[in-house]
Symmetry: C2
Subunit: 472 residues, 2 copies
């Protein structure tokens, strides 16, 4: 077969056969946007021609990483809301209420570029500026599963921490209408797809939530929703429905395989198992939840029941990076600490959670997540000459996978390909000018910060006081 | 004053005044191996001449990071002993018993280079090949506080997991003699100094341990020792002395300000406080202990009583990186999780634990750890244009310090200076050829791996079985 590209004399992690699928002396051939062939270099070079040959010595080729939950739209607020209680209301909102579409778009571009540089090929991106998200995922070339934030929070009235959020039904309907406009567009590339994104059970009415589930069924798409994400949410749920979130979702018929639930930080083990048994997926965000709440999401309880789980980097204002190498490492380590044992979540497992199992969780298991002929050529190469992966030992025990998880920083990623196209090559972005995106982020951030009400910030955020004390 | 170098138009974290000591529009002047002046750019340029001027726009200048506990000598075994129980006996020893002096030296060179690339300027390096350690810290140009491993473990007889270690008194005396030879050498540069390094209370006789403490007093040096590092140690202590480690050290008069104790993983809160009250220092190794034991060392209990604490990266076979940015982040996050609260160990505090407070813990508080005139010019620059530190926000709330701790990977380090000399400049090693050190590590590792008894490994290490199952 005439191929477009063969990467040869390389090592692969295919992620097939329930493990990492390590192959030495390997080659991988690409035709169009798909993986055509995977196997031994000698055999593949003997049986195939290609327009382009790339030698892959000292590289490791593996599926692109999947960030199953990210809010690129708030990336400009990186590092403004950690080490405090009340992350959302006291940390995030004084800044995020100032974000306009342009600032969200600048954040989206910045955050996607950060993700790509760290080996992410697919982002399940959740935010209010869907237009900006579509624009930058298209332009940069990432695969994206986009969700427009749908909530009924009334932006015209001040939200008072601790009080029941006032709902604005028109706002919710407008959000949904905007989401539907984009889902119905036909000229988008295949790699841009959509889930419906009700923000959280406490942030919109039951009526609208049910309507969204019905639509997801008709449109054959999924639901991407924060669930049981904090005590703040449960306070709202108790005040509004006199119930905790997950039992309430079950009672209302909203726990099912359409749902990809994010966080579950406040779920009891029984609630987690209830959700897992329903066929719903779970995305955990170790870094962000560790910083925001000092908690470890109940991934292990979930995995006891089901395997539709994935990892997400969440957001920059309280993580503070969007790097799936960081998420893999933190997920492994946090779960070891939670169990006071070195055994939970070994390296191979978290690598699967960031690739093949994430793809399954997002309903894209037949399209991406492994180096399998017929799947899209979404892959990354890792520079094995990087010092923190050295020495590479292949016998009698391979150290590649543990070092990828526990030592790699993300900066070892040399190339990123999505659907057969390099979007990052030899350490440089291919599709966009990095400098421009950085400048755009800087100037948008400066503009937004001028609008922040400093008195309000001083009143709300303990970080403002920390800064006065010379700690920032 | 005529200076050698002024870095101007930059931002500084001096780490002075109990916080991070942030200075904008700043400059820093160096004369010889010392910091001569720190302050406002305009004033410093008006009052001083310098042979060399460096513009520091878009850089952050801060003290070099301090790795207060590292075993560079076993770096070749990176990634061979995680995700299992019995890290030392079942994971490490099947490989480490094959390490010869040459292999340890190759690991030392590799590990120091990794540390430097990630912004470390001072390493408290602990290992058996003191000659190799001196050689490479001299050559690369790092500041080093070296400890020769002193133990009485009999290398001629097989150590059987779970049984009392047989002691070889001659071996202990030989180790000590070698340590003393180096401590007494006079031609070493000022930046190479020594602590005595009894490996652990269970690994040498009380008699030798007391002799070492006496010598430390006479030589005006300190003791660097693993203390309460695991259940394995306490089993040995119970079998030999019918006591737990810390009460035993107290009873024998070995808890005092000479001691820098490492780990305390198995210490009770009362034992930790007992150690802290004695004036001893504590170094915690969050990454390594998280991976090896799934535990969080009792840093907070220690800090309630005393502030002589520091962070260490420990070793590559079970961390698996030696990167103080990683240690700062993990220390902050693990302690939040341990307390189920976002408040413990905020960014500014872990940054201090890796700089000024570490210096104090190691008895070098008057020499390094802050950007203070009169101290050695041990500093690093951070590239603020790196995407994961972007955007840099300076008003109304600075995000520099949180992003350094929670988002930086180590790859943002652009320059590293020790005692006024750049040893890493614009992302390249200055003093050594990186390629050569990597090659030397690869070939030494390959040589050692050939000697590993594969049958013994298969019997001992669960990782060998994991590899057969396609998980490595």
């Amino acid at each position: 077969m005439q191929l477009d590209l063969i990467i040869y004399d390389t090592e692969l992690l295919t992620m097939e056969d329930g493990g990492v699928g390590y192959l030495a002396d390997a080659a991988l051939g690409i035709k169009g946007d798909k993986i055509a062939v995977v196997g031994n270099t000698e055999k593949i070079l003997a049986g195939h021609q290609a327009d382009r040959l790339l030698e892959g010595k000292n590289l490791l080729v593996m599926p692109g990483l999947i960030d199953a939950h990210i809010h690129t739209g708030i990336a400009l607020l990186r590092g403004l809301a950690q080490d405090i209680s009340g992350w959302m209301e006291e940390g995030l909102w004084p800044f995020s209420r100032q974000l306009d579409r342009e600032a969200r778009e600048a954040g989206t571009a910045l955050n996607i570029m950060e993700a790509v540089r760290n080996g992410t090929t697919l982002l399940a991106d959740f935010g209010s500026n869907l237009e900006g998200m579509v624009k930058w995922h298209r332009r940069i070339g990432t695969r994206a599963l986009l969700s427009k934030t749908i909530n009924e929070l009334d932006s015209s009235s001040e939200i008072i921490p601790g009080e029941l959020y006032p709902f604005d039904h028109r706002k919710g309907e407008e959000d949904l209408a905007e989401a539907l406009t984009w889902i119905e567009k036909e000229e988008l590339p295949e790699r841009i797809s959509f889930f419906l994104g009700p923000q959280a059970p406490d942030m919109l009415s039951l009526e609208l939530l049910k309507k969204i589930y019905d639509l997801a069924g008709k449109l054959e798409t999924g639901i991407h929703m924060h669930v049981a994400q904090g005590e703040r949410e449960h306070r709202q749920m108790r005040m509004r429905y006199n119930s905790r979130t997950i039992p309430w979702l079950a009672r209302e018929g909203l726990l099912n395989s359409k749902l990809n639930a994010v966080h579950l930080t406040e779920a009891t083990p029984e609630e987690t198992r209830l959700l897992a048994r329903s066929g719903a997926g779970l995305t955990v965000c170790s870094g962000s939840i560790g910083i925001i709440d000092g908690q470890v999401p109940p991934l292990q309880e979930f995995l006891e029941v089901a395997d539709r789980a994935a990892l997400g980097s969440d957001q920059a204002p309280g993580n503070n990076c969007n790097n799936m190498f960081n998420e893999m490492k933190l997920t492994a380590l946090f779960n070891k600490i939670r169990n006071e044992s070195p055994l939970p979540l070994p390296a191979w497992k978290v690598l699967r959670l960031a690739t093949i199992e994430a793809a399954g969780c997002l309903g894209l298991g037949d399209k991406v997540g492994s180096l399998t002929p017929g799947k899209f050529a979404d892959l990354i190469t890792i520079d094995l000459k990087e010092i923190n992966l050295s020495p590479v030992i292949r016998h009698p025990l391979r150290n590649l996978v543990p070092n990828l998880v526990y030592s790699a920083r993300g900066s070892e990623v040399r190339d990123v390909m999505v659907a057969g196209r390099f979007i990052f090559r030899k350490g440089r972005m291919v599709t966009v000018e990095e400098e421009e995106i950085l400048k755009q982020a800087d100037s948008a951030a400066a503009r937004i910060m001028e609008r922040v009400d400093e008195e309000r910030l001083a009143r709300l955020s303990p970080l403002y006081q920390a800064q006065r004390e010379g700690k920032l």
